[in-house]
Symmetry: C2
Subunit: 227 residues, 2 copies
């Protein structure tokens, strides 16, 4: 499903130049559940943004379902993103003026679902994540962990084939964290591909494989789960 | 240093009414290191904002150094906040147009320190937290864990007697998390009072005492460290 070849991302503005990804190679098979770990600043979120079609690499190739998206732009990239990818951001990125349920319905607008079906699905997901009594709160009226769970529900709402989760349990107590992992495991079991960044070894242990990043490079295949 | 009596906080806007804190009682002695744990949505950040003089309770009392601040407003509250409290926010709240080092210098402006001394202190703190090569990056040019460390440095810059840390290691790998805890333990050892919210039991274990919140109430004294 995902094949990344010699991916390079250089941030360069004014006096600043950072090589965030340095010829990174990675493959994720359709239906796999992969965890990505690595030190703060090692390039994980940068990689995720490229995988999520939210950013383009400086050089190198990214094949999503066999299609080279690394040179796509604007509307083409957005179309693929909306159809294929659910993204859980490290800092949530909820729309501040929309309620929880409206935030979750957003991906469903693109799919032409009728209003009642959008609402039903959004409510069901939020209830599953323990937010049934917070449907009409705006992000500023939610705790950190509640905002995180709204971001998760939004990513899953459209049932996309690829789920990218950047630190989905960072703000959650053990109980809510278990609920989230339960939900991701169910999504995976129903055939979806899941790539998850985490600093929590007990979360990573629930994936099928762990890829470790260090200084913009992936130690692919050298650090298998259980080693 | 901190005494909170029958603290109540009710959020009430339109159809929404949430009792976030429900007659909460808590004491923290000068120089103590207390961890606060509890489920997502149990009222931890709400309590922290009141302790940090960023919000006022609906009812109840908050004595900071023997002074009743629960009925203070505006400038008086701000003055106490700037002089006495360093706050690490769950979502960082860095100023987006300032660089890392400028963000960290901010609390020092209130103290009339000369520019060269402000810069020296800010740089020293950032270097200690592994960000010596990120001084001139703006928040959007930093990873999640790097932003978190800038927020920590900013809270410590003015050497305030009370440090309030809301999930300071949530976005950090184990190595950076250890560096942060090391720094907080040093600050505590030099006489400061530290109150820290965390979902991580291994972080809470480094405090002298753990207070557990559930549904807006503190189980004070019933769950001591090691029980
Ligand atoms: N402005 C608001 N209006 C209405 N309800 C609110 C508001 N802010 C917070 N709440 C609610 O108050 C409760 C306590 O929120 P708080 O942020 O203190 O939780 P928390 O313990 O810090 O949770 P977490 O571990 O997820 O960060 C939550 O259930 C939240 O939905
Ligand atoms: N716009 C930018 N300009 C310059 N440097 C950047 C920019 N965005 C990110 N960086 C740098 O690129 C590196 C990788 O950042 P990235 O966000 O991918 O790290 P990460 O592995 O997700 O870290 P964390 O675990 O802390 O979230 C970091 O060192 C960061 O400072
Ligand atoms: Mg990141
Ligand atoms: Mg909180």
């Amino acid at each position: 499903m995902i094949r990344v070849e010699n991916l390079v991302k250089v941030y360069s503005t004014g006096a600043i130049r950072v090589e965030a990804l340095r010829r990174l190679n990675l493959e994720v098979g359709r239906g796999e559940f992969v965890a990505i770990m690595g030190p703060s600043g090692s390039g994980k979120s940068t990689l995720m943004h490229i995988l999520g079609c939210l950013d383009t690499p400086t050089s190198g190739r990214y094949f999503l379902d066999g299609e080279d998206v690394s040179q796509m732009e604007g509307n083409d990239l957005a179309a693929i993103r909306n159809r294929k990818i659910g993204f859980i951001f490290q800092s949530f990125n909820l729309l501040p003026r929309l309620t929880a349920v409206d935030n979750v319905e957003l991906p469903l607008l693109y799919r032409g679902l009728p209003a009642r079906e959008r609402r039903r699905r959004a409510e069901a997901l939020l209830e599953k994540l323990g937010l049934g009594d917070r449907l009409h709160h705006r992000p500023a009226e939610l705790s950190g962990g509640q905002q995180q769970r709204v971001a998760i529900a939004r990513a899953l709402a459209g049932d996309p084939p690829l789920i990218l989760a950047d630190e989905p349990t960072g703000n959650l107590d053990s109980h809510s964290g278990l609920e989230v992992m339960q939900t991701l495991l169910e999504v995976h079991a129903s055939g979806h591909t899941v790539v998850l960044i985490t600093h929590d070894a007990s979360v990573a242990a629930q994936a099928e494989r762990i890829v470790r990043l260090r200084d913009g490079l992936a130690e692919e295949g050298q650090k298998e789960k259980g080693e």
